[in-house]
Structures are given as C-alpha cells and as structure tokens.
C-alpha cells in the first residue's frame, strides 16, 4: 500500500516539478542572442536570395521599379543563355586548374617553409621568419603593378601560370604551419631521426600527417580564396579562352549592354562549387578561418 501511496504523491508532484524545470530551462539571454543571430542571418542572406530570385525573372521584370520578392513569371532562360551562349564550361575548367594548382603548390611550399623555419637550424632562419611575418603586412593589391611588370617580363601575362604565380605568396599559411609544427613534441622527431628518416620523410610522413586537420582546413580556404579571386586574373588575362569564372562574368553582355539576369546567373553558377565545398567542409572552413584570424589578429 505504501508503494501505491508514494506513486500517487509522485503523480501530483510531477506537473509542478515539470513546470519548475521548464522555467529553469527558459533562458532569456540565449533567446535574445538567437533572435539577434536570426536577424543578422536574414540581413546577410537577403542579397543572396535577391540574386538567386533575380536569375529566375525575365529581364523586363528585373528592371521594373519596385521590390518583387518572387518572380511574376518564372523562367530559366538566363541559365539556358549562360550555359549555351557563353564559354562558362571553359572558364570553370580554367578556374579549377588555377585554383587547384594554387592550392597544391601553396600547401607544399608553405608546409616546407613552415617545417624549415620550425625544425631546421640554418643561417638566416630568423631573418626568413621576420621577412615572412613582415610580408603579410603588405596588402597584395599594393603589389599588383609590380606583379604585372615582373610577369610580363617573364612572358607570363595572359597565361594560366601567370594567374597562379602571384597567388603563391601565402605568408599566413607558412605561419600557421610553423606554429603547428612547433607544437609537435620533439620526441617524434628524434625517434624518427634515430630510425633513419631524412627531413623530407619527416615532413611528409610525420609532420604533415600529424597535422592533417590543419592541412585540409588550409587547403580548403586556399582553394576558396583562389576560386573567388577577381582582381589579379582580371588584369593578367585578356583572352576569353583563358579567363576563369570570376572574370568570365564580365564577358556576359550583348549588343544591348548588361543583362542583370544573365550576369547574376553566371555569378550563381560561379559561386556554386564554393558553396558546395563550404557546405561539405563547413567545420574545416570555420577552423581555417579561426586559424588565420588568430594570426591576422
């Protein structure tokens, strides 16, 4: 009988307890932060939405005054035009080649430089380190004229190699690698040295695999940066066949001038791979941004 009495009192006590729990769970600060974040998200996402919606509108609807949040007449004509009447396929391939090359070369060079500065002792090591630190204080656009002159003297203007070249200056990547390699306990290095590993084996078989997370993060962010780059490829390339996708957008016009729907359709298609990469590797991209933000301050 005592058991059933206990059960009954539990039943009456239960709703009150639940109410207290619910009240305790009510978190005002959390709610406010969520609301602010939501508003910010809407503000950030709106231009993207506006651009996407515009690509599905006919041109006359686009230029019409007023704000229309949804197409009156839904059309994919802009996409059809871009995909059939422009060299978007070629631009995609060019973007893929240059961004891929930049990513691979930057990672190998930065890992090598980071390893050398972190692990080797050679004359001028400190000087190199300070030079690398100093170099990222100079904004790349400030060097663009110099880059143009050098590459033109090398005969690399209007080549894909010319697009890649200046993008290989990646001091932040070197700094990040150096810091990660610094934190690898020296026992690993010494054990491998006793086992007969040389510096290349140490880098590619111990240091890089032990920092695989940072490598993928840096590779992704380098790829996205190279894919999105506009100014340098725009200056370096003049023939339509060698343009990458960001520069290709500027070529989408006809005798009647700019057609916003078509331009935005190329822009959407250009952003698609980066958006996909971001969605798939979201955590890694965030990590990479945090890493470089930590360096850049």
């Amino acid at each position: 009988m005592t058991a059933s009495a206990g059960l009954a009192s539990d039943l009456t006590a239960a709703p009150a307890a639940r109410r207290v729990r619910r009240l305790r769970r009510f978190d005002l600060a959390g709610l406010l932060i969520t609301l602010v974040t939501l508003v910010a998200a809407v503000i950030f996402a709106f231009p993207l939405y506006w651009g996407l919606v515009t690509t599905f509108k006919p041109e006359y609807e686009i230029v019409r005054p007023g704000v229309e949040l949804w197409p009156e007449r839904f059309t994919i004509e802009n996409y059809v035009h871009v995909l059939t009447q422009t060299k978007i396929g070629l631009w995609y391939v060019n973007s893929l080649i240059t961004s891929g090359a930049v990513t691979v070369i930057v990672i190998i060079m930065a890992a090598g430089a980071g390893y050398a500065i972190s692990q080797l002792s050679f004359p001028g090591r400190r000087l190199f380190w300070w030079m690398i630190l100093a170099s990222f204080m100079v904004p790349i656009p400030a060097l663009i004229v110099t880059h143009f002159i050098v590459l033109s003297q090398l005969g690399l203007i209007n080549t894909l190699a010319g697009v890649v070249g200046p993008q290989l200056i990646a001091p932040v990547t070197v700094i990040i690698y150096k810091q990660f390699f610094d934190s690898v306990p020296k026992d690993f290095r010494e054990a491998a040295v006793i086992d007969g590993a040389n510096d290349f084996q140490l880098l590619f078989r111990i240091y890089l695999p032990m920092n695989w997370g940072v490598t993928t993060a840096l590779a992704i962010i380098t790829f996205i940066g190279a894919w999105n780059l506009f100014l340098w490829p725009f200056l370096a390339i003049s023939s339509e066949d060698k343009m990458n996708i960001t520069v290709g957008i500027t070529q989408v016009h006809d005798a009647f001038g700019v057609q916003y729907g078509r331009d935005l359709a190329v822009a959407m298609l250009a952003a698609l791979p980066v958006a996909l990469v971001y969605l798939i590797f979201q955590r890694r991209v965030t990590q990479a941004i945090m890493l470089s933000a930590g360096i850049k301050g």
Binding site: E190, A191, I194, Q201, W212
Partner: protein, 381 residues
C-alpha cells in the same frame, strides 16, 4: 669495475659499467663535456659500458643522465670529448648510423600509423620491401605479444601496450645498443612492476647492451647489473646494486639509494684504530664503526639504514639512541617508525607486526657493522 669518486679527482670521474662477466667495452665515453651556453651539464666524464650489460644511469632530476644518454644516441652534440661504440668513434656520426635504438619516456608512437606501421617505420624509411616490413613487424609483435593489436592505432592501446610497441620499434632495428629514457615513468605502479619484469626477460633473451636512464632507484636496482649514479653532471659511483647499497662511496649515493633513505647523524671521532673509528654519538654513547685504511677525520656523519636500527627498551644498555615515536607507517611486510631523538628524527624499519604506539619512548640499537662514516667532503671514510 672501477670508480673514482669526484671527491678526490675534482671534475674528473672515471667509471666502468661492466656486465657480470666483465665483457669487452661496447659503449665508451671519453672525457665528455656538455655545455649549454654558460651552463655545464656534464663535466669531463669517462664511462665504459661493457657488451651485454644492463647499465642504469641513475640520479635526481637535472643530474645530466638524460643528456648523457642523448649524447650516446647522437641527439645531443658533444661539446668536448669522444663517444665510441664498438671501438668506433661515433662522436660525429648521425644517430641512425650508430646502430642504436632508443625508447622514449613519451613512447613517441606516431598517432596516425598503426602498430604495424609504427614498428616497421625504420624499415620503411630505409626503403625495405613491404614483405620484409610485414615479416619483421610480425616477428617483433610475436616476441612482445602484440600480434592482436597490429592493425590498431596507438590511441586504441593501453599504456603497457604502447610501451611494448615502443620497445618493438627499437627491437625491429636489431640494434647493438638499446637506450631507454625513463621508459616506465608514464605507467601506473602495478604495470611498471610488470614491465620491469618483461624488460629483464628481454635483456636475458637478447643479451644486447642496454643503457637505461631512470630517477627511480627501485627500477635501477631491480633491472641493472651495474648502476652509474650521477650527481650534477659527474659520476658519483658505479657499481652493482648491492655494492651501491652496502658500500656507498659517498653521502650522496648513500642518501639516494634505499627507501626509506639512510639516517644521518653528526658524530665526533674520538679515535682512529686502524680500520675502525670510535665515534661519540649525540647523547654521549660511543660506537665502533668500520672505516677504510688510512682514513682520517675529526668530525663525521654517521649513516645508518632504517633496517639497521632495532627497537629496544629505552633503558637497554645497548641502545645507541632513545626517543619518542612520532609517526608509525604499517606497510604490511614492514613497519616504519619515525622516532624523535636528541640526534634528530630517525627512521626505523621493523617487522610487519611490530607493536608500537605514537608517543611511546623507545631505545634504538645500532648495527655497528652496517653503519658508515662520511667525512666532511661527503666521501665515505
């Protein structure tokens, strides 16, 4: 085996760590000095390790034992002097070419590789075929009972298994000299005892020369056939575990070896009678303590191990000291008493079933034949 204590040779210490049979020298350090800027870690040190011996480098933190091992490994440059392995001067030889293998305190297992890859790493970097790598990894895994774990990563192993993989990585190279840098200090007490036995077994099976750095005297005493005690970068004494325990060359060794530690009591030397000295203990009692021939001093410190003091009645005419029991520790097999006497607090080790109470007044009888006298320089008289 010979040892010259630094007390009478200044900075020069010469020592030989030989196997029981006293084999040929295998590792030899000649007048080795190591400096880090203005700091001297090792001073003009000579050491010979015989082939097949298990030699422990023992000393407190910062005594230079790890530095010494790392210089033998080639991981640390030798500031002055030479290092020989198998009568070949290897002072400038890179570590990989010294035919040594080293087990680190942290194990240094590569986290991204499986046990098999970790063990076979040295073969892999040497460009040996996959088949040979697999065969040798398997062979080593069998010896160390690691077969079921070959495809696991270090993170999936227990401390003891990781330790065995680290040893396996050393074994696979078939080195002439094994170097161990405090390899058991990351293990819990029980596992440490187990691994100690396994290491001793391994040494017996392989008969390879092993040099083992530790600050744990129990490890050194149980594993090594010779112990090199280091103090501030110089060798204090070299000898077998029992030699160090029973005949310490100086106060430092006497204090460092043994747990609980040796008791030290100030003593006045009343007379030297050849190989014995009559000393007056605090409290006025006299004792006859053995000394080496030709020893001469007026003031000394008497050292006696806790097990060489026996609890007797305070009025016993043979009691050298009398005092009150301060603390009692029951260890099961032994009882440790801390007794406050006019000579200071003395530690006494008695039988496991010793019946004593805190505050009780007891007399302590001294086993004179086991006591040692240390002169003002710290050297044993």
């Amino acid at each position: 085996m010979s040892a010259e204590a630094p007390a009478n040779t200044g900075s020069v210490a010469a020592a030989t760590a030989a196997g029981a049979g006293g084999g040929a020298p295998h590792v030899e350090l000649r007048r080795v000095t190591k400096r880090y800027g203005a700091v001297t870690a090792i001073t003009d040190l000579n050491l010979t390790v015989e082939k097949g011996s298990f030699t422990a480098l023992l000393g407190p933190s910062g005594c230079g034992k790890s530095t010494l091992l790392r210089m033998i490994a080639g991981l640390e440059e030798i500031t002055a002097g030479q290092c020989f392995i198998d009568n070949v001067d290897v002072t400038g030889t890179p570590p990989a070419k010294r035919r040594i293998a080293m087990v680190f305190q942290s194990y240094a297992l590569y986290p991204h590789m499986t046990v098999r890859q970790n063990i076979a790493f040295s073969l892999s970097v040497a460009g040996r075929s996959k088949k040979i790598q697999n065969e040798r990894a398997l062979e080593v895994a069998r010896i160390l009972e690691l077969e079921p774990y070959l495809d696991r990563r270090p993170a999936e192993l227990s401390g003891g298994q990781r330790q065995r993989v680290a040893i396996g990585r050393a074994l696979v190279r078939k080195p002439e000299v094994f170097l161990f840098d405090e390899p058991l200090s990351n293990l819990d007490a029980k596992l440490r005892v187990q691994m100690r036995v396994e290491l001793a077994k391994l040494h017996a099976e392989l008969g390879a020369t092993m040099i083992y750095v530790t600050h744990d005297q129990t490890e050194a005493m149980t594993l090594a056939d010779k112990i090199v005690v280091l103090d501030k970068g110089v060798i204090s004494q070299v000898g077998s575990p029992l030699e160090l325990y029973n005949a310490p060359a100086n106060k430092f060794v006497a204090a460092f070896i043994g747990s609980p530690g040796m008791n030290f009591v100030a003593a006045d030397i009343a007379a030297m009678n050849g190989r014995t000295a009559s000393v007056i203990l605090p409290g006025g009692r006299t004792a006859e303590i053995g000394v080496s021939a030709g020893a001469n001093a007026r003031l000394a410190e008497l050292g006696v191990r806790p097990e060489h003091l026996t609890i007797v009645d305070p009025n016993d005419p043979q009691a050298a000291f009398a005092g009150a029991v301060a603390i009692i520790e029951h260890l099961g097999n032994a009882t440790i008493l801390y007794v406050d006497t006019p000579a200071g607090q003395l530690i006494v080790e008695g039988e496991g079933d010793l019946d004593a109470k805190p505050g009780q007044t007891v007399g302590l009888r001294l086993s004179e034949s086991h006591a040692r006298l240390f002169g003002e320089t710290g050297a044993t008289l």
